[in-house]
């Protein structure tokens, strides 16, 4: 039953902009889509390996800055009289570099912290995000600090027959985000179903047993962290080229919290969970805004979150799965209502 969530979402969100002209709503959908990609990437770690990255926003932010700086160019002096100058290049190159560099960052964080895991990984990721935020804030020569990087060019894609197309409209950006989201979803689905996914599941469920079966814990978790980070970096790049202005606030802890809320409410460790949670909590503020005062909005937001976790502790998607199983079981029982009786009678002919 929950298998159909992702294809259903794809159809709905592929067709939605056709009947939607309100730029405010379209903007909300784009931001929600970008955050949902982040939630999917966080779910790869939190849901499928059980490791909580509370600094996930670091990868998002690094992706945004790398991509923006690649497109804008920079001129920084380093110690020992070194000087690095970059003229500015194609946003698409920025997108690819964002994936590469955040993947590398994820790899290093994984190598550093996965020998001990658990709480240590949580602490290392929080610290990493804070350090990166302070660097972005204080390395003014590179990042402009609180003055922000401005006039970041829109994403430019080479389209066969049309040459290079700059994605200026919201509609174009919407479909770009949708495409990256679909690619991310398929990548995770494929990974989880592969041998690598089995190794992740084994480690999460019973680490000693997994080790005794020859599963390399450090390597498996590091690979998961690398892919997860790279995916968040890709989302950061999309964000930078869409919003076109970024400042150190892209590293705010509240983004990480939003991602965790999306994953946990939707159902961690399920493929569709971050989609459901992401769209629900991405669009909830938009839905509440016209009907109540700003102060009340966040109270309702919190109340809905608490209600979901209280009623469905494992998240919406696992709860739906459970419901589906119960309905199937009842239907089965309904088909053969005299199941018990003939068995008894058969035993006593």
């Amino acid at each position: 039953m929950t298998r159909f969530i992702a294809p259903l979402f794809l159809v709905v969100f592929a067709l939605l902009p056709l009947g939607l002209t309100d730029p405010y709503l379209l903007n909300a959908l784009i931001i929600t889509g970008i955050l949902t990609i982040c939630a999917m990437s966080l779910n790869l770690l939190l849901g499928f390996t059980g490791q909580l990255s509370l600094g996930h926003v670091a990868f998002f932010g690094i992706g945004a800055y790398v991509s923006a700086l690649t497109a804008l160019g920079f001129d920084v002096s380093l110690p020992f009289g070194l000087r690095v100058t970059h003229e500015g290049g194609a946003p698409l190159l920025g997108f690819l570099l964002a994936i590469l560099i955040t993947g590398l960052a994820g790899y290093l964080i994984g190598r550093l912290s996965f020998r001990v895991r658990g709480a240590y990984f949580v602490i290392v990721t929080i610290s990493f995000a804070e350090v990166v935020r302070l660097v972005a804030l204080n390395w003014v020569e590179l990042t402009q600090g609180p003055l922000a990087l401005t006039a970041i060019p829109n994403m430019v894609l080479p389209v066969p027959g049309l040459g290079d197309v700059a994605l200026r409209s919201k509609m174009q950006n919407y479909y770009l985000v949708l495409a990256v989201a679909v690619a991310s979803y398929l990548l995770i689905a494929r990974l989880v179903a592969s041998r690598f996914g089995r190794a992740m599941r084994g480690l999460k469920e019973n680490e000693s047993l997994a080790l005794s079966l020859g599963i390399n814990a450090t390597r498996t978790l590091t690979v998961a962290a690398t892919i997860s980070a790279a995916m968040a970096g890709a989302a950061g790049s999309l964000y930078a080229h869409y919003i076109r202005i970024i400042d150190p606030d892209v590293f705010l802890f509240s983004y990480t919290v939003t991602m965790v809320i999306m994953v946990v409410s939707g159902g961690k460790g399920t493929l569709a969970g971050p989609l459901v949670g992401g769209i629900l909590f991405g669009l909830l503020p938009v839905a509440l805004r016209p009907v109540m005062a700003p102060e009340a909005q966040w109270i309702v937001y919190g109340a809905i979150l608490i209600a979901i976790l209280f009623l469905m502790p494992r998240g919406i998607v696992p709860a739906l799965e459970g419901l589906g199983e119960r309905i199937a079981a009842r239907r089965k029982a309904g088909d053969k209502p005299t199941d018990v009786m003939p068995a008894k009678m058969g035993a006593n002919p």
């Binding site: 494929r190 990974l191 599941r201 469920e205 047993l209 997994a210 005794s212 020859g214």
Partner: protein, 274 residues
């Protein structure tokens, strides 16, 4: 490094293990020959499980070393030891409870046909024909292992929902999935009834006949006596006797340390049978 004597597959060389002031194992020294079934016995707290954890890399000995096929295991991590062909089962936690029996074995087979070529990476990300073939091969292998341990009827059930005895079989199937050259079984028949135990004895023999060496830790004395080629007896972390079952059964030190009642019972049973 080549210190393999005769055709020993595992050498435990003067291994000692101290936890703070407590000596769990003192100067343990024995070999396991290729394709034999060797049992490690001794009363509770004699150091059997500690010895097991040292042999599989979960603990590092404070003294001595363990050689597997001539290779020193003291610097080797558990997952690497498994890859060398030394697999184990656990006393308690032995399955991935939330997964089906088939998925359990598939996790165990995670490196079946291990391939590090770039093409293999692509196969992992895209459903190429080669990837599908590899996946089918892994599934066939899983079904063969499940069939061997006799759980085909439960292949689609969650491992956690199985009876205790069946869960032990899943644990055994997982160890087989590693395709080991040697298997260490930690109390494999505890929680099994008599007929399940008999089935398991047949299974162990079958695996041994395929060339897998077996090291067994077990409390079920009749089972140990029946299945073992050789027995090593520990008490208070020391080796007190080593030999074939007949010799161990009559060894006064063993009877005194551990077998007292069981041996008496065994003898009675034999008298009754005669």
């Amino acid at each position: 490094m080549s210190t393999t004597r005769g055709n020993a597959i595992l050498n435990v060389e003067h291994v000692g293990m101290k936890f703070g002031g407590l000596t769990a194992i003192a100067d343990l020294h024995f070999d396991v020959q290729e394709s034999e079934i060797l049992s490690l016995i001794g009363p509770n707290g004699a150091g059997k499980t500690t010895a097991f954890n040292i042999m599989t890399g979960f603990l590092k000995p404070t003294q001595g070393r363990v050689l597997f096929r001539g290779r020193d295991l003291s610097q080797t991590r558990p997952n690497e030891i498994a890859r060398l062909g030394l697999a184990r089962t656990f006393q308690r936690t032995s399955v991935f409870a939330d997964d089906t029996v088939r998925d359990n074995v598939l996790i165990g087979l995670h490196r079946h046909g291990d391939d590090t070529r770039a093409a293999a990476l692509l196969d992992r990300l895209f459903p190429t024909p080669a990837a599908r073939r590899a996946e089918n091969a892994v599934r066939e292998r899983a079904d063969a292992i499940i069939d061997m341990v006799g759980l085909t009827a439960r292949a689609g059930d969650k491992a956690g929902s199985l009876s205790y005895g069946e869960q032990r079989l899943v644990g055994f199937a997982l160890a087989l999935a590693v395709e080991p050259k040697m298997l260490l079984l930690d109390e494999p028949v505890s929680g099994m009834n008599a007929s399940e135990t008999q089935g398991f004895v047949r299974l162990i023999r079958k695996v041994r006949d395929e060339g897998v060496t077996i090291l067994l830790v077990e409390h079920d004395m009749p089972m140990v006596m029946e299945v073992s080629d050789r027995i090593v007896c520990l008490n208070y972390g020391r080796l007190i006797a080593e030999g074939p079952p007949e010799a161990i059964r009559t060894d006064p030190k063993v009877i005194e340390a551990y077998l007292g009642k069981s041996a008496a019972k065994l003898e009675q049973r034999e008298v009754a049978h005669a």
